[in-house]
């Protein structure tokens, strides 16, 4: 229905292994875990006290909510290559996605409404997730304005990819020529109390406290925070302004397992389907996919299901396709996970390096893929698929291809 091609012309990231793509990418390739004891709030009454707090990030105490600041920082990095005057403001938009939005405001608001105390107007104002889209839109106006389509999606921990997919469609459909797509989330006491209720986090007793995707002794995931941003652009628009093109966005898909809010989806059926849907949207056959950046979070139940789904999707080639899990280094960034992993997926194409699944010691027959254990691999990547999944059965996938 549309022939408009969409490319990535900017990247930005905030994570527990570094802020800014160079630091992030170096740490991810070296497989250095950013998981540490949490310092943001008093964890003495929590069962799980390790997490990935953003590093290399200077919070502005007088600024907006921390989560919003993460998104702003990543977005500003992603538009760094734009010159003033290169954008037609009405043809540029913003699509964001998050799991919890302004986590600090949310926590304050809930505490204020639990008590009979009055609610602070600024706190309720910040709670509205759509205000983050507006904050990003306004912050980016320095490079010429983003006055086109602006929206915010939420698909739990599958959120990040949904913003990229939405932005891709907006450009394909001719609603915009340029879209800033991003995912973001921050750790707060409320967020931590909620995530702790699901029984999927590595126990504090495990030493060292690490995420070990695909490892036989994996004990769960560890949550972290940050943001990822991608500047998407219509190919002709990017070429006309002489932009650096990192990769082409070929396609995306989102679905739901439609099985159970918290139970495992038998056989990884929904994940297999979302990959097939994305490949169809991208117009590629599974045979053309030469790397998968997996969702794998390190939970005993989840990882083998994604492995089964990948086997079903790739067929006999599955054992020869490198499938890494960078949550082993960056932790699980919640609604930002897909966006940060998309940044890594694009960088794999750019640099020809597949980052490792770190902390890997003991093979598990139920996860017998080539998980790029512990050491980054130099390998040309032409087509990469990045997977995400979230509570409630949400799945999303995006596919990038080398350009030129």
């Amino acid at each position: 229905m549309t022939n408009r091609r969409v490319v990535v012309t900017g990247l930005g990231v905030v994570s527990c292994v570094g802020t800014g793509v160079p630091d992030f990418w170096r740490a991810v390739c070296e497989g250095r875990s950013g998981i540490r004891p949490l310092t943001r709030f008093d964890t003495s009454d929590f069962r799980f006290t390790y997490g990935g707090e953003a590093q290399g990030f200077q919070a502005d105490a007088g600024g907006p909510d921390l989560a919003t600041q993460f998104m702003l920082t990543a977005a500003e990095e992603a538009v760094g290559g734009l010159e003033v005057g290169e954008l037609n403001p009405s043809r540029a938009g913003v699509a964001l996605a998050t799991n919890f939005g302004a986590a600090d405001a949310c926590e304050k608001f809930l505490a204020q409404t639990v008590s009979v105390k009055s609610v602070e107007p600024g706190v309720f104002q910040a709670l509205g997730m759509e205000n983050d889209t507006d904050a990003v839109r306004r912050a980016l106006s320095a490079v010429g304005g983003f006055e086109g389509p602006c929206t915010l999606l939420s698909l739990a921990c599958a959120s990040g990819n949904s913003a990229i997919g939405y932005a891709l469609d907006a450009i394909r459909l001719g609603r915009a020529d340029v879209m800033l797509a991003g995912g973001y989330d921050a750790i707060s006491r409320y967020v931590w109390s909620l995530l702790s209720a699901f029984g999927i986090i590595v126990s504090d007793k495990e030493k060292p406290n690490l995420v070990r995707p695909f490892d036989k002794n994996r004990k769960g995931t560890i949550f972290s925070e940050g943001a990822g941003a991608l500047l998407l652009e219509e190919l002709g628009h990017a070429q006309q302004r002489g932009a650096r093109i990192y990769a082409e966005v070929l396609g995306h898909a989102m679905n739901n397992n439609a099985h159970h809010m918290t139970h495992a989806d038998p056989g990884g059926r929904g994940t297999a389907l979302v990959m097939r849907m994305a490949a169809q949207d991208a117009g590629v056959s599974p045979d053309e996919i030469d790397h998968i950046n997996s969702h794998a979070t390190g939970t005993p139940v989840g990882d083998p299901l994604e492995v089964a789904a990948i086997k079903s999707f790739l067929g006999p080639r599955a054992s020869r396709v490198p499938v890494n899990a960078i949550k082993s280094t960056i932790g699980h960034l919640m609604g930002a996970a897909g966006a940060a992993e998309a940044v890594a997926s694009v960088m794999s194409i750019v640099d020809g390096i597949i980052p490792p699944t770190a902390n890997y010691e003991t093979p598990d027959p139920a996860c017998d893929l080539d998980c790029v254990p512990n050491v980054a691999r130099q390998q040309r990547v032409n087509v990469v698929l990045s997977n995400s999944a979230g509570i409630g059965g949400a799945n999303s996938a995006v596919i990038f291809r080398r350009f030129g």
Binding site: T113, V119, L127, A197, T262
Partner: protein, 394 residues
Amino acid sequence: MAIKAMVTGLGVVTPIGVGPDDFWPALSQGVSGVDERQGFEVSGLKARKAAQVLGYDVNRFLASRKSFLDRNSELAFGAARQALDSARLQVSETNAERVGLSTGAAYGNLDTMRTFYGKVLEKGPKLAPPILAPHTFTNTTNSLLAIEYGIRGFNANFCSGMTAGLSAIAYAADAIALGRADAILAGGVESLSEPLFRGCAACGLLATDGEVEEDSRPFDRRRNGFILGEASGFVVLESAKSAGSRGVERHAAVIGIGMAAGIERAMRMALTDAGVSPQAVGAVFASANSSRDLDAAEARAILAVFGREPVPVCAVKSMLGESYGASSAVAFVSAVLALKHRLVPPTVNYEQGDADCELPGLSAEPQPLAKPVVLVNTIDPGGACVSVLLNSEL
């Protein structure tokens, strides 16, 4: 004029009617859903009223009883079930991957979030109630709908404030046009809860007694804030091919979508997208919710796009209040019903024009709908706007 998707199913849960057959007579006759607030008392607030859905039983719409449901999900189940039934859409193993779901809610399950966090504060995080945790996510309602009906295809969930519902419907129409699904259950929902009411009140967003009694008065000179409402509105959107092969009634088609920061630009984009002129539009379903600034901005935008031509304008929030993620989805359903009945609903309480919002096509009485094309607007105070164009002459 390209058809993006057909509307083949409709469902609503609103303060003035559950189901299109109850809702439309009330809406077209100007029945207001605004009344004294019930269910919770908060001292020290000037705003007393709300537009609530009373006497609603979700079990009418569920195959089996649930151990726990947030009110947001309860309201969604009613409208979603109606939409699927009226489209005669059965989701089965054969079509589950080609049926999609697209939903919107601004604050969604805020009340359950508060209940959950109240327990955390009271008993400590180690004793946080695990049964509530999965019901606190912004996409909880979306997941529950997918599970209830077995919808395994395309899925999206928006929490873009007051635009969430129409954003979900617009993206569903695009997804159909892009071939991502054959049919999509799409809509928006918002439940009214004590925390939401208190938040809106704290920000001075709500109507209060002034020159006249507290009420929803879109575009009226005496408007001083909105009445908080709750509702859900869902539709089934379907490709022309799928609707044709199933032989179901096609109520209207989505022919244009505009999204931008600013409602004037969004309306122009929708018209350009559809390739129709402003003169072809029979009515505008305004986003106006009785706020001072937003109503005035929308009125200026409508005048800028339509000139002094008196295009009929209505603000259904005059009867339904502002139900955030639901309001624009309910306005979309209202617009489809208006096309069916060839009648523009009244804007109740519109008595005194305002120099800031002079719209010649605005009326406190129902107006005939002379042309088969209507525009549905939604504006979020944060700046995001969506405008969708519908056509019933298929």
